[in-house]
Symmetry: C3
Subunit: 341 residues, 3 copies
Amino acid sequence: MPQKTIEEIANHVGGEVIGDKSKKIGSASTLDSAGPGQITFLSNPKYAPKVKNTNAAAVMVSRQVETNAVQIVTNDPYYAFMQAVVLLHGHREHPQIGTSPQAVVSKSAKIGQNCNIHPYAVICDNAVVGDNCQIYSGVFIGPNVKIGSNCILYPNAVVYDGCQIGDRVIVQSNASVGQDGFGFATHKGEHHKIPQIGIVVLEDDVEIGSNCVVERGTLENTIIGKGSKLGDQVAIGHGTIIGPHCLLVPKVGIAGSAEVGHHCVIGGQAGIVGHIKIGNMVTVGAQAAVINDVPDGATILGAPAIEANKAKRAYALIETLPDMRKKLKALDKKIEKLKNT
Amino acid sequence: MPQKTIEEIANHVGGEVIGDKSKKIGSASTLDSAGPGQITFLSNPKYAPKVKNTNAAAVMVSRQVETNAVQIVTNDPYYAFMQAVVLLHGHREHPQIGTSPQAVVSKSAKIGQNCNIHPYAVICDNAVVGDNCQIYSGVFIGPNVKIGSNCILYPNAVVYDGCQIGDRVIVQSNASVGQDGFGFATHKGEHHKIPQIGIVVLEDDVEIGSNCVVERGTLENTIIGKGSKLGDQVAIGHGTIIGPHCLLVPKVGIAGSAEVGHHCVIGGQAGIVGHIKIGNMVTVGAQAAVINDVPDGATILGAPAIEANKAKRAYALIETLPDMRKKLKALDKKIEKLKNT
Amino acid sequence: MPQKTIEEIANHVGGEVIGDKSKKIGSASTLDSAGPGQITFLSNPKYAPKVKNTNAAAVMVSRQVETNAVQIVTNDPYYAFMQAVVLLHGHREHPQIGTSPQAVVSKSAKIGQNCNIHPYAVICDNAVVGDNCQIYSGVFIGPNVKIGSNCILYPNAVVYDGCQIGDRVIVQSNASVGQDGFGFATHKGEHHKIPQIGIVVLEDDVEIGSNCVVERGTLENTIIGKGSKLGDQVAIGHGTIIGPHCLLVPKVGIAGSAEVGHHCVIGGQAGIVGHIKIGNMVTVGAQAAVINDVPDGATILGAPAIEANKAKRAYALIETLPDMRKKLKALDKKIEKLKNT
């Protein structure tokens, strides 16, 4: 592991040092665990007391705090910490193997420069893969798929025919992109499959978590907007459009033909029904059930989902229902008694 | 893309034409997007106003409406539209590659006529695969598995030993069929695995979505009935029986030893506990928690799930709980005041 | 199938026989289905009436009951039954194929004695696999992964670089272990990936269900404790620690940096938010939403989750909300009327 001085790190993140700049940092750690030779961060003020007693050599902060550690002050300490982690640890390195002789690459496929295509990957007819892509083992890239540059497809990810993937897209293991949408015409009690002629478009800088499922569109495309990140096991229905720079936490499910704006954050296990429109900058709480359009900037919670502050108060009162019921009965009795006096 | 005249399409679906039968149709689209040369449909009357102003060349309707588009009138316009989509676009075509030399097919396996077995598919000992099957890359067909004719197993789908699959079954990518049920005998604080000696039976015309999980039975079989369709990431517990012609929307979870009747529709993310019985023609709302037997024909909603209309009213009132609480206090005060007057 | 006498089975499980010890048993079945030549069990007293009329040859019980079947009496009849199932049916047998020539095993990987490595499995540089392991087709074992002895990795399971797996661990099909945690630093509206430098540790005797996702830690490790079992499609967030001997039913989701004690049981589809601490011996109901720390031994239910008995009463009353609302109005009217008299 390369060591860096605190000064080097501070220069890298554009921060100001309070303390000994010459100390060497070897790795990054959490506030609880960081020890000598390690850097950590404070972004949530509620953990400030922990910084006081940290054994870390250095800590990223947004303003000077009380601590024995050397401080690097920046506007956005978590972002600065991320940059430090990249500087110290780097992103995953990919083996430089070129195209494995045990991969199957169609003669009609076009593969860019400097790609690594692992054993048992399959790239079908007329697929296009850009430069510097990592195609891991067991990945299936269907016919006519287009993939940009600097993408990583982890083992056993599957991209169905015709889908389009931008630059710097990451698809984690066992994810499915572009399988048939759940579309059937029910006639006389039987469900008839509707050809799903749309595709999936993953724009630049999208990340798709492990075991995610992104259905292709029935007639129009399913789109994941630029820079949006899907956690593991997220499910996106056919024809749904997710705007740019959204965060969809693991296990989110969004039904078909829904529209989600930009910079939305959808909590774990939340569900959004089909054919509704979620505005921009919307925050949806974990396990929420969203069944109606949501305006820009709203924060909602609960099943059914309502405005978050309201929801917190209201859902917390469910446990008082037995008590309320009792009180209702008691009041009734009191009134009857009053009547009869 | 082949073009068809409106007359050809109308004849194909058994519909009556209002307008110019000779117009050519090249593709299908949604009511919002359809333009010249395209056909669309109206099945939900609330979208009737959109038909008036559609640019589509033709529209499937259930009775004459006001529109400039040519109309094809049929009893079931969505089903007719599905037929038109198949006519114009067809279902996915599968490459005719025969058995790839890079597939591993056991000598004791029996493979039918006209199958395509892709690179890196594995078909184990004594497995049987019927005619005209598509076995994509990375598919694993375990020992003694039986698969009927005209089935499609998409990349990286896994079928464990001994499972039985009917005709025209589709298993989408990364689905798991027949893995061990979640069955343990807990003894002195440790969980001991119970051999799962049942199998999974997928009857004819079943579709299993991407990344679904269908556990094999502990002692008896897990069965998905004829024509039932599972969306992506559906989970079926060991020994559970799903009747014919059900629709299980993505992310549904049904625990072990449950029984679901025929023609049920289970909404996204809904959960059904084990060892209960859901009747026929039951509709379960998205995210519902079903914890009791459900009679035939019921429509239920909510967590816990209750009759749907009741549920809509009741769950919508949760947000009024703070207000109800206030009112209770106010009433109490009023009564005390009355008492003292 | 080998047959065993009831005496042999009773000796094997340490039980006492009431009835004819010499009868032969060929297989195990459920109380409802068991017939002649089969053994079944009674562990839940509510099914006692079924034992009276069973056609089974033998039944495991905890004390003598009324039945024509031969009885084997043990302290823990379900555990004894499990032992009988293993005796009669055994666990799945794995083909003895050694290392397939179609598997890719890095020269720097170390493989133990007596392993079976199936076609299209990939074992990367410096990985270590212990003795007697079954590595099925399409499995990916990343660089520097360490796997103990007697493990089974089913088809298409993926283990990312550096993760550590103990002895007797089972990973079912299409599961993902060690993919990147959902960790991003958001800066000026864009989400920047934080290198996830922790790993996943699966301790001895862990089982990971099909299509599960266990994220690697950001800075510290994600740990699944000894003997814990994860059902299908369970999701574990980065840096979360699950104690030993827990049961996580299918579709459970636990966010990052949570801590779960030992011997917990988490019901299907339940969700646990990040950064909280669940005590030991805790039971969480299906679909519960756990948002606060939970003390040892608690049983909780509902969304939000509260003490189970309280929850059962409270959540069941949601359906009475329309009625309570009416009563409130009626009481108000009564009071107004009283006032005016």
